[in-house]
């Protein structure tokens, strides 16, 4: 390894590498010390909703079925008080070319890379997004490299990620599989430098604009079929892109009153960078290991300004347990005849308790499913958990502990959600914001207004919290 490849040196060049690999001048959008023109960053890409829809139509992305889950609705009503039990619909995103909503996210990056005559496209991801980028690259005639965090120091691969390796390779991508650690980003930067490929980061404007069609489609279709917009949309929440893109799409369809609820699998206590904890997580995405840090500070991403800013769009943020999601996955298969991947059913698990509290004629939409297969399946995940000594049994999911036990509910009344206090998340965001202010700088009026938008609060609330926050947060 030459000196120029050493960890610290590559990381020191990250700004230039990322700029060159995306071709966006993020600095241009700065309007204050922290403030930047978020809408301008998105609009200037030139991809409005109609253009995105057109591109996705040509690549067979989107226009997925919106399926009413009659039997699950009936089940929920069987345990609801009179007059309660909302109708549950699901947007069957597994019908996308590579089997998840991530195709929407990858499609505009692949289109942009091709338009600008890049030879290839690369992404750092262990999830469905890798398969989506590889699939869209195949359609666009681009070379593709996916960098994954895939196995622990004993060489044991996470079953779901092993399946994603296979899928990416099936689409003709090179897959660099890494052991556990955040230095994946360092390896990814070296790939970008080595190849000059386009950086299909999950967090660019292209990625978010590609998801807007999801929210737009479900709102427009429901309005056509039922004469109304959804009362609630449940979105599986990890890095924030799914919430952000879907909520923006709902707004563009006119469904501004729809309640947006982000749902994550609770993996509290398991460290994201721990070699030991890696395979003790039975979910590789849609969990709190991503959603907590990314909601409270989105600009920890691999781009200077993250276009996924979930706190701007979340009305509520809840968590469910691993056991509840496996239970919901089984219920979807056996009551609705739809066998889908567990991670994509995270928000479906929350639909049970949520719909129970809503009125009978209300409509709740679960906005995604994902494909299933070897590895990406409750059986594979639970078998792996048992091998590692994690207790798997029937029981009250509230008693489970991530990494130690997975409790499959004994009956549907046991499904519930834990509410995350968004005010606490907003305060956490503001502590990060204070810590991000460079020395000898101070926040101006434009920054305070920006922080109010970022936290969906008011200028006076932001000022009040900032006054309580020590400068060395």
């Amino acid at each position: 390894m030459s000196d120029g490849d050493a960890y610290a040196q590559v990381m020191a060049r990250r700004g230039a590498i990322v700029r060159g690999s995306i071709g966006l001048d993020y600095e241009k959008y700065a309007t204050g010390v922290l403030a930047f023109d978020y809408e301008g960053l998105l609009t200037d890409t030139g991809y409005d909703l109609e253009t995105v829809r057109d591109i996705q139509q040509r690549t067979a992305v989107g226009n997925t079925p919106l399926v009413e889950l009659h039997n699950l609705t009936e089940l929920v009503r069987s345990i609801s008080r009179p007059g309660k039990g909302a109708r549950i619909f699901v947007k069957d995103e597994a019908a996308n070319p590579s089997g998840s909503f991530k195709d929407r996210r990858a499609s505009i990056s692949a289109h942009e890379a091709r338009r600008r005559a890049f030879e290839g496209i690369a992404a750092a991801t262990s999830g469905n997004y890798g398969a989506a980028v590889a699939s869209q690259a195949a359609k666009a005639g681009l070379r593709c490299i996916i960098v994954q965090e895939a196995f622990d120091s004993r060489g044991i691969a996470q079953p779901e990620i092993a399946e994603k390796t296979r899928a990416c390779e099936a689409y003709g991508a090179e897959v660099m599989r890494l052991s556990v650690g955040p230095e994946l980003f360092y390896v990814f930067l070296r790939v970008l430098e080595d190849t000059g490929f386009f950086n299909a980061s999950l967090y660019t404007p292209y990625s978010i604009l590609g998801i807007e069609t999801l929210g737009y489609e479900l709102a427009v279709e429901l309005k056509e079929r039922e004469g109304r917009f959804p009362d609630v949309v449940l979105t599986t929440h990890a890095g924030g892109g799914n919430v952000t893109g879907t909520a923006r799409g709902l707004c563009k369809a006119g469904a501004a009153e729809t309640t947006m609820i982000g749902v994550s699998v609770d993996l509290s206590g398991l460290h994201m960078a721990s070699d030991r904890d890696f395979n003790r997580k039975s979910f590789t995405t849609g969990h709190t290991g991503f959603s907590m840090p990314f909601t409270s500070w989105p600009d920890r991403a691999d781009v200077p300004r993250n276009a996924a800013r979930a706190l701007r769009y979340l009305d509520r943020f809840v968590t469910v347990t691993q056991g509840e999601v496996f239970y919901a996955t089984q219920a979807l298969a056996e009551l609705e005849g739809m066998e889908r991947g567990p991670a994509g059913n995270t928000s479906l698990a929350a639909a049970f308790p949520m719909a129970r509290e809503m009125k009978r004629d209300d409509i709740l939409v679960v906005q995604e499913t994902e494909y299933t297969g070897a590895g990406k399946h409750p059986l594979a995940q639970l078998a792996m958990a048992r091998q590692l000594g994690i207790r798997v049994q029937r029981g009250d999911p509230r008693d489970s502990r991530p990494g130690e036990s997975i409790l499959i509910p004994e009956h549907p009344e046991q499904l519930g959600v834990e509410e995350i206090d968004l005010d606490q998340v907003r305060r956490s965001y503001l502590r990060h914001a204070v810590a991000a202010v460079p020395e000898n700088s101070s926040l101006g009026r434009v920054d305070i207004e920006f922080l109010a938008l970022e936290t969906r609060s008011t200028v006076s609330w932001v000022q009040e919290v900032l006054n309580e926050t020590p400068k060395t947060a």
């Binding site: 960890y7 039997n71 009936e74 089940l75 069987s78 345990i79 290839g120 070379r143 593709c144 490299i145 895939a150 196995f151 120091s153 691969a157 092993a162 399946e163 390796t165 296979r166 390779e169 991508a173 090179e174 897959v175 660099m176 599989r177 890494l178 052991s179 556990v180 650690g181 955040p182 230095e183 360092y186 390896v187 080595d194 190849t195 460290h271 960078a273 721990s274 070699d275 030991r276 496996f326 239970y327 089984q330 219920a331 298969a333 056996e334 009551l335 070897a374 590895g375 399946h377 409750p378 059986l379 594979a380 639970l382 078998a383 792996m384 798997v392 049994q393 029937r394 499959i408 549907p412």
Partner: protein, 100 residues
């Protein structure tokens, strides 16, 4: 005798990207104590010996080097055995709907 593998064979290479102790600051202790390893597949550009240095051309057209680990590596992930705790769920839920 070490196994020779012919040029043109689909193989997997491995290499250490960062040695234990050279890991990024702030990674947990147990991660710090082990190397960051990388594995990648491709077609051997010349004859090679198992366990020794080799070179592949990857699906993205890149030339990468590392230790020759596996020849034509299978995809070994599967579903595993049925899980009794899930087997019962469908019947329980159907009974609730039927009973209405």
């Amino acid at each position: 005798m070490a196994e020779r593998v012919a040029k043109g064979t689909w193989v997997e290479l491995s290499c250490v990207v960062l040695a234990a102790g050279e890991r990024a600051p702030r990674v947990p202790e147990e991660t710090q104590a082990v190397p960051l390893e990388m594995r990648v597949k491709g077609v051997l550009t010349r004859d090679a010996v198992m366990g020794e240095r080799a070179e592949v051309r990857t699906s993205a057209g890149r030339t990468l080097r590392g230790r020759l680990e596996r020849v034509n590596p299978p995809y070994a992930h599967g579903f595993g055995p049925p899980i009794a705790e899930l087997l019962a769920v469908g019947e329980e839920l159907r009974a609730r709907i039927r009973g209405r």
